[in-house]
């Protein structure tokens, strides 16, 4: 088990190194950073001095080494547009995005799994057909359109929920949370649904098809032939086997939720990392873009690690082979 975790950690480090190489290359080849930092009237000598100070004349491997070692210490450079450390900027925006993603994921799982199980067990019922129709809409409509529709219905027409922003937030240390105020929670509803709807339908359809597959297997038939209750067969045996592929996909989708938050954050003017990233793209603020890239990669790597560990917990076949290897 320990060997398994160590092996996965080493793989994660390799992935992060590759991603940081890409982020580093962005610095080097998308425009000249010096051009971004100085005005038009700066002389050649001053530029050369700046280059020297920034270490841009060092050999490339050395520069990469500096980049990685600084990034590992949390120093991600200075934003061109805000003239503030990127780590601070991201730190102030991270809670908004993570809270939004967390609530979306929760929504997607808490709605998607029961709906998937229900539609797999009651294939002919009207409610199942309704769920499937909803899921078709969820899959086919683009995220921004769903967001705009929700704003139109619930903010403009019914005026129940706010259309933009996070509402009132409470600071706990450096973390600003919207979970503790009514306006903060209300502000979370529409963006979370917008961001989570696609994932919810995906999870629902995945659970449904996997569950129907599992219900056809011999061991389910044998479980029924042993006279186990429906509850035990459907939930004890079928659902647990269904969860193995669902965990993988859901894990990958958690990463996708954080990455896709860009669009939802734009629609709802949500002050998260996605919005920061879009501004950075518009202003060619490469340090922020590179930091964002690194952070998303880090989140993906962490989530995948958790998924692998969950997998081992659920499926004894992997657990035992892993222990023997």
């Amino acid at each position: 088990m320990l060997a398994f975790i160590i092996r996965r950690l080493v793989q994660s480090v390799v992935v992060m190194l590759v991603v940081s190489l890409i982020a580093f290359v962005m610095f080097r080849f998308i425009g000249d950073p010096v051009d971004q930092m100085v005005g038009l009237e700066t002389t050649v000598q001053e530029r050369e001095l700046l280059r020297q100070q920034l270490g841009l004349n060092d050999p490339l491997p050395l520069q990469f080494w500096h980049f990685v070692s600084k990034a590992a210490q949390g120093d991600l450079g200075i934003s061109y547009q805000f003239k503030r450390p990127v780590a601070d900027l991201i730190g102030s925006r991270l809670p908004a995005t993570l809270e939004l993603s967390f609530v979306s994921a929760l929504f997607a799982l808490l709605m998607g799994i029961p709906m998937g199980v229900y539609t797999a067990l009651n294939r002919e019922s009207l409610l199942s057909k309704l769920f499937l129709t909803i899921s078709l809409i969820g899959i086919s409509l683009p995220t921004f359109l769903i967001g705009i529709l929700l704003i139109f219905v619930f903010s403009v027409y019914l005026q129940w929920l706010p259309s933009f922003g996070r509402g009132k937030v409470v600071d706990i240390g450096w973390w600003s949370t919207g979970f503790l105020t009514v306006s903060g929670l209300k502000a979370l509803i529409l963006p979370s649904i917008t961001l989570g709807l696609f994932q919810m339908t995906l999870i629902m359809r995945l659970v449904r098809s996997e569950m129907m597959e599992v219900l056809r297997t011999d061991f389910i038939k044998f479980a029924r032939a042993r006279g186990l209750t429906n509850r035990a067969v459907n939930f004890g045996h079928a659902l647990k086997n269904t969860m193995i592929p669902v965990i993988t996909i859901t894990g990958l989708q958690m990463g996708a939720i954080i990455a896709f938050a860009i669009i939802t954050e734009t629609v709802f003017q949500w002050p998260g990392m996605g919005l920061l990233f879009l501004q950075a793209v518009q202003n060619v603020d490469i340090p922020i873009m590179a930091a964002y890239l690194l952070l998303i990669a880090l989140l993906f790597v962490i989530i995948n690690l958790i998924v692998d560990l969950l997998y081992v917990m659920v499926d004894p076949r992997i657990r035992i082979e892993g222990a023997e290897a």
Binding site: F219, F222, G227, N230, G236, H237, I320
Partner: protein
């Protein structure tokens, strides 16, 4: 027939399809006495497994019992509501399926699956159920049962798994076991071991066996009486010795002729020409008429009933009073 444990009368199983209704089992009748081993043979698609599924009440919808009765110890079970039938399964009728590799849920230990089944039907606590489970594994010949009980299915070989499946089917001492091709998926070398285990277990507990197979060798070795099925109908029922030595129905004769023996020094095995008709186009009259070497005019119009003839039941017009000659 009041002393029979299981009594099947004129059982009809139908599958509605787009092309019309398929009759998978057509007016099948037979009895099983307490402690008896009844073999059921026939080609694939002859309705053997479907009869087994009907008895234990697990026909996959849209298939359903369209006529006839099934009773166990005088009590009708073909029309029981789901929950009442669930309590019959496992407790009064157990079932063993063909493939031991897929009959067990891969993510639970043997102990969990055994204890779950025992506690569903018997009022025992965890400790008592576990002791009973270990005793059963011991009886079916799993070495070091008390240690191996906490292993997962994939840690057992195929033959061992089938022993576990037999233990599971027998764990609350049902009166009847339906063994659906229990040895087909196994190595030839372990086939007879499994048959031995099955026979010994059932003899010890006074359990009757309905042994479904296409292997005449298994029938000859294990069964007391045999039912020969063809295209959903019973062709011949009789004591195994009678049927093997002196088959009456031309189909049974064909089956016997197709078994290689060491004693007989013939160059070729006899074979039955043609294939079993699909359920969609069973000929009028006798289902076997088109392949039968002894068919005469009546066979193509008149459907034979199963009638007593020389100590057995045969469904063939050759043994009817109005036969030619």
């Amino acid at each position: 027939m009041s002393d029979a444990l299981l009594s099947v009368r004129d059982l009809v199983v139908e599958f509605p399809t787009r092309k019309g209704i398929l009759t998978a089992v057509d007016r099948v009748s037979f009895d099983i006495s307490r402690g008896e081993v009844l073999g059921v043979v026939g080609e694939s698609g002859a309705g053997k497994s479907m009869t087994g599924s009907a008895i234990i009440g697990l026909i996959e919808p849209p298939g359903h019992i369209a006529g006839g009765t099934i009773s166990i110890a005088g009590q009708r079970i073909d029309n029981l509501p789901y929950e009442a039938m669930r309590r019959v399964r496992g407790k009064r009728i157990g079932m063993v399926f063909q493939d031991p590799l897929t009959s067990l849920n891969p993510i639970y230990t043997i102990a969990e699956q055994l204890i779950e089944t025992i506690r569903t039907h018997m009022d025992l606590n965890e400790r008592q159920a576990r002791d009973r489970a270990i005793g059963l594994l011991d009886q079916v010949g799993i070495p070091a049962a008390s240690r191996r009980i906490d292993d997962y299915p994939h840690q057992f070989s195929g033959g061992m798994r089938q022993r576990v499946v037999i233990a599971l089917a027998l764990c609350v001492e049902p009166e009847l076991i339906i063994a659906d091709e229990p040895t087909t998926a196994l190595d030839v070398s372990v086939q007879s071991q499994i048959i031995d285990v099955l026979k010994r277990m059932c003899a010890d507990h006074g359990t009757a066996i309905m042994l479904i197979t296409h292997d005449m060798g298994v029938i000859a070795e294990a069964a007391d009486r045999v039912v020969v099925m063809y295209a959903g109908r019973v062709a011949e029922i009789g004591a195994v010795r009678d049927v093997i030595k002196d088959a009456k129905h031309p189909y049974t004769k064909g089956l016997m002729g197709a078994i290689p023996t060491l004693m007989q020094d013939s160059d070729r095995l006899t074979q039955i020409p043609g294939t079993m008709p699909r359920l969609t186009d069973i000929p009028p009259g006798c289902a076997f008429s088109k392949r039968c070497p002894e068919a005469f005019d009546r066979c193509f119009v008149e459907q034979p009933d199963c009638r007593p003839y020389q100590g057995r039941d045969v469904a063939c017009l050759l043994y009817d009073e109005g036969k030619p000659q």
